[in-house]
C-alpha cells in the first residue's frame, strides 16, 4: 500500500491527467490535437452555469432523475445483517447508469459542433444510451460492438437500430469489448475532423476518465442526500460492480474523503480467478492500453489477454485508471464475483425484491451475501443497481433451461 496517502482522494487527476502513475494520454499523434480541444471544451462547459442548467433539465425530464434510493427490506431480512439500500440506476431512461455520462458527452459534443458520434459497447447499454441521445439531438451515430456481443446481446442491437444508429459488428481479436474499442479508435483516427468519440466508461486518454467520472458522480451526490433524508446520516458502506468502472466511480467519488465509509468494487471473476476472468486488479498488472496506464490482463511479453465474463458489460481486460490508483492507495477494496455467483444473485434479487438486475449489477449483489451478514443491523449499505436485466433475460433464460434438462 502507498505510504504517502493524499490529503484528498477527490482532487485527481493532475493537469496531465494522472492519478498517481495511472492515466495519462497514450494515443496516436493524429488524435492529440482533438483530445486537447476536448479537454478545453470540457473545462469551458464545466465553468459555464448555463451548461449545468441545461443538463439538469434533461437529467430530470428526459433521464428521470433523481433515481430512487430504495430500502430492500426482503433482501435485508434474508441476509440478516446490514440494512441494504439499492440505488436504482436501472430506472433511468434506457435502463442503466450509462445515460448519465452519454448525456454529458453529447452536450459537450454539441458545444464543439460535432455532428457525428461514435461509441463502443459491450453489453449494448452504452450503445443504446448513445443511440438514444443521438436520436434526441439529431446526430449521426455509429456503434462498434464485438461480433460475439452482437450475438449475446441481441435485444440491445435491435434497440440501437430502431433508434437509428448503425451497429458495426467487430470481427477482429476476441470480437468483444476490447476489440470494439480498438475499432472505435481507428474510426476516430480516420474521421477526426467531424467525429466525437463518446467513451462508455472511466477509461481512455485524459480527459475521459475524469469527465465520465464527473458526469456519473450524480449517483453518489444523490445517494448522500437521499441517505441523509432516509436515515439522517451517511451510509457506512458502498458496493458497485466494475467493468471499466464508471457506475462505481460515480457512486464512490463523492464519498472518497469520508473515512467512515467503507467502499467495495466488484470485478468479474468469470470461471474463477485462476481460470478465464475479467478481474484486472486481482489478476493483472500495470500497463498501457487504449490511451491510459492502468491495470491490465496481459502475458509476460506485454500482450493483452482476452477477458471473460458471463456479463458482456464487464468483459474488458482493463479498468479505469482512477480505480487502479484507489486500489494501490488502499482507499477502495476490490473483490470479485464469479459467473455462478452473479447468476445466483440475479435470481435472488428477482425473487426477493421483484427487480431483475443486469448481470453486471448482479456481480455487486453477489458480494452482499459475504458482506452484509457480518455487519450489525444499523449498518447502512448501498449497492449500485447499475442496470436492469431485460437485455439478459434471453441469455439467462437459456442457461437456466439447459440446467433443468
Amino acid at each position: 500500500m502507498n505510504q504517502n496517502l493524499p490529503n484528498s482522494f477527490r482532487s485527481g487527476p493532475d493537469e496531465r491527467g494522472h492519478f498517481g502513475i495511472f492515466g495519462g494520454r497514450f494515443v496516436a499523434e493524429t488524435l492529440m490535437p482533438l483530445i486537447l480541444d476536448l479537454e478545453k471544451a470540457y473545462a469551458d462547459a464545466k465553468a459555464d452555469p448555463a451548461f449545468q442548467a441545461e443538463m439538469n433539465v434533461y437529467l430530470k425530464d428526459y433521464v428521470g432523475r433523481p433515481s430512487p434510493l430504495y430500502f430492500a427490506e426482503r433482501l435485508t431480512e434474508h441476509l440478516g445483517g446490514a440494512k441494504i439500500y439499492l440505488k436504482r440506476e436501472e430506472l433511468n431512461h434506457t435502463g442503466s447508469h450509462k445515460v448519465n455520462n452519454v448525456l454529458g458527452q453529447i452536450m459537450v459534443a454539441r458545444r464543439m459542433g460535432k455532428k457525428r458520434i461514435i461509441a463502443e459497447t459491450g453489453a449494448g447499454q452504452h450503445g443504446v444510451a448513445t443511440a438514444t441521445l443521438c436520436a434526441r439531438f439529431g446526430l449521426e451515430c455509429v456503434v462498434y460492438m464485438g461480433a460475439v456481443d452482437v450475438e449475446r446481446q441481441q435485444p440491445n442491437v435491435i434497440r440501437m437500430e430502431m433508434l437509428g444508429a448503425k451497429v458495426v459488428p467487430v470481427q477482429s481479436g476476441a470480437r468483444t469489448l476490447k476489440d470494439a474499442m480498438n475499432d472505435a479508435l481507428r474510426d476516430w483516427v480516420t474521421n477526426v475532423h467531424n467525429t466525437f468519440y463518446c467513451i462508455g466508461t472511466v477509461a481512455g486518454p485524459h480527459p475521459y476518465p475524469m469527465m465520465v467520472r464527473d458526469f456519473q458522480s450524480i449517483i453518489g451526490h444523490e445517494t448522500r442526500k437521499q441517505m441523509q433524508e432516509a436515515e439522517g446520516r451517511l451510509p457506512d458502506s458502498l458496493i458497485a460492480c466494475i467493468g471499466g468502472g464508471s457506475n462505481a466511480m460515480g457512486l464512490f467519488h463523492p464519498f472518497l474523503d469520508d473515512p467512515s465509509v467503507e467502499i467495495f468494487g466488484v470485478e468479474a471473476a468469470g470461471h474463477g480467478l485462476t481460470q478465464l476472468h475479467a478481474a484486472s486488479l486481482a489478476g493483472g498488472r500495470p500497463g498501457v492500453l487504449h490511451g491510459n496506464r492502468t491495470y491490465l490482463l496481459m502475458d509476460a511479453d506485454g500482450q493483452i489477454e482476452e477477458a471473460h465474463s458471463i456479463s458482456a458489460g464487464l468483459d474488458y481486460p482493463g479498468i479505469g485508471p482512477e480505480h487502479a490508483w484507489l486500489h494501490e492507495t488502499g482507499r477502495v477494496k476490490y473483490l470479485s464475483a464469479t459467473d455462478e455467483e452473479a447468476l445466483a444473485a440475479f435470481q435472488l434479487l428477482s425473487r426477493l425484491e421483484g427487480i431483475i438486475p443486469a448481470l453486471e449489477s448482479a456481480h455487486a449483489i453477489a458480494k452482499l451475501s459475504e458482506l452484509a451478514p457480518q455487519r450489525p443491523k444499523d449498518h447502512l449499505m448501498v449497492v449500485n443497481l447499475s442496470g436492469r436485466g431485460d437485455k439478459d433475460v434471453p441469455q439467462v433464460g437459456d442457461i437456466l433451461k439447459a440446467r433443468q434438462k
Binding site: T30, M32, P33, S172, N191, A300
Partner: protein
C-alpha cells in the same frame, strides 16, 4: 550523437536521392522467414528498414498490419526475439539503419531501461512508438535519446503549425509524416497535399522528412519521393507476405522472393524521383 540513420541520410543527400523505407512485421509468418526477408531488403533496394514489433491491439493500424502482427504472435514472436532478430541481421549488415515501430506496452513490460540497453546492443538505431505523443516524452523518448537511440515522431495532417514545435522538440533521425488521417493501409496519399505538408514541416526543422501511410505502388512512391526525403511502404509489403503463404498460413518457397520483387519495383520508383529540395 550520430546514428546509422544520420549517416544514411547524409549519404543519400550526397547521392542526390530520397530514401526508400520499408516496413515489415517481426516474426511474420515465422522467425526464420522473417529474418530471411529482412536480409533480402537492402539487396532489393531498401535504404532504411522499419521492423514492426507485434502487438495484440495495434489501434492505429489497419487490418493487414494487424493480421501480420497476430500471425507473428501466433508463431511465438516476442519483443526479446525481435531484438535477437536484429542482432542476427547485424552479423552481415552494419550500415542499414533499423527502426523499431510499435506500441508502448510491450516495452513498458520489458522495462524501459533494459529495453533501451538491449536494443542499442542489438543494433537498433531508432524507435517509432505510435501511442507516445510528446505529452508523454518522459516515458521513453527522453531515456531513448540518452541511450543513443533516435526517437522518431509522427507528424500528421492534424498537427498544425502551433503544435509542430512540440512534436519536433525531441525528435531526431527523421520526421515521419503520416500522409492521411487514418489507419495504415486505408486511403491513398495525395502527393500534392503531401508536398505542401512536407514544405510546412521543413520550415520548422532541418531533419529529413519521410512520408508513409497510403503508398502502395512504384508510381505513388516516386511522386512522394519527389517532395520528401523518403517514402515509407508497409501494408503493400505485408500484403505480399500474406499472399504468398500456404493455406495453413505457413511460408512457401516464394514468400521471400515475392517480397524482394515488390521491394525492387518500389525502390526503382523511388530512385526515379529527383531529390527533394532542401
Amino acid at each position: 550523437m550520430s546514428t546509422r540513420i544520420d549517416a544514411r541520410f547524409a549519404e543519400l543527400k550526397q547521392q542526390g536521392r530520397s530514401a526508400f523505407v520499408t516496413f515489415v512485421m517481426a516474426g511474420d509468418p515465422d522467425a526464420k522467414t522473417s529474418l530471411d526477408i529482412l536480409k533480402a531488403l537492402p539487396k532489393a533496394g531498401a535504404d532504411v528498414i522499419e521492423i514492426g514489433m507485434p502487438f495484440t491491439d495495434p489501434m492505429a493500424d489497419g487490418p493487414s498490419i494487424q493480421a501480420a502482427g497476430l500471425r507473428a504472435l501466433k508463431g511465438g514472436m516476442t519483443l526479446r526475439k525481435t531484438l535477437a532478430m536484429v542482432r542476427d541481421f547485424r552479423k552481415d549488415d552494419n550500415t542499414t539503419p533499423i527502426v523499431l515501430m510499435g506500441y508502448y506496452n510491450p516495452i513498458y513490460i520489458y522495462g524501459v531501461e533494459s529495453f533501451l540497453a538491449d536494443a542499442k546492443t542489438a543494433g537498433v538505431d531508432g524507435l517509432i512508438i505510435v501511442d507516445l505523443p510528446p505529452e508523454e516524452d518522459t516515458e521513453l523518448c527522453i531515456p531513448a535519446m540518452k541511450a543513443g537511440l533516435n526517437f522518431i515522431r509522427l507528424a500528421t495532417p492534424t498537427t498544425d503549425d502551433k503544435r509542430l514545435p512540440a512534436v519536433l522538440a525531441n525528435t531526431s533521425g527523421f520526421v515521419y509524416y503520416v500522409s492521411i488521417t487514418g489507419i495504415t493501409g486505408a486511403a491513398t496519399a495525395d502527393s500534392n497535399a503531401v508536398a505542401e505538408a512536407v514544405a510546412r514541416i521543413k520550415r520548422h526543422t532541418k531533419l529529413p522528412v519521410c512520408v508513409g501511410f497510403g503508398i502502395r505502388t512504384p508510381e505513388t512512391a516516386r511522386a512522394i519521393a519527389e517532395n520528401a526525403n523518403g517514402a515509407v511502404v508497409g501494408t503493400a509489403i505485408v500484403d505480399v507476405v500474406r499472399a504468398n503463404l500456404d493455406a495453413e498460413g505457413r511460408a512457401t518457397p516464394k514468400t521471400v522472393s515475392a517480397v524482394a520483387d515488390l521491394v525492387s519495383a518500389l525502390a526503382q520508383g523511388v530512385r526515379g524521383a529527383k531529390q527533394a529540395a532542401e
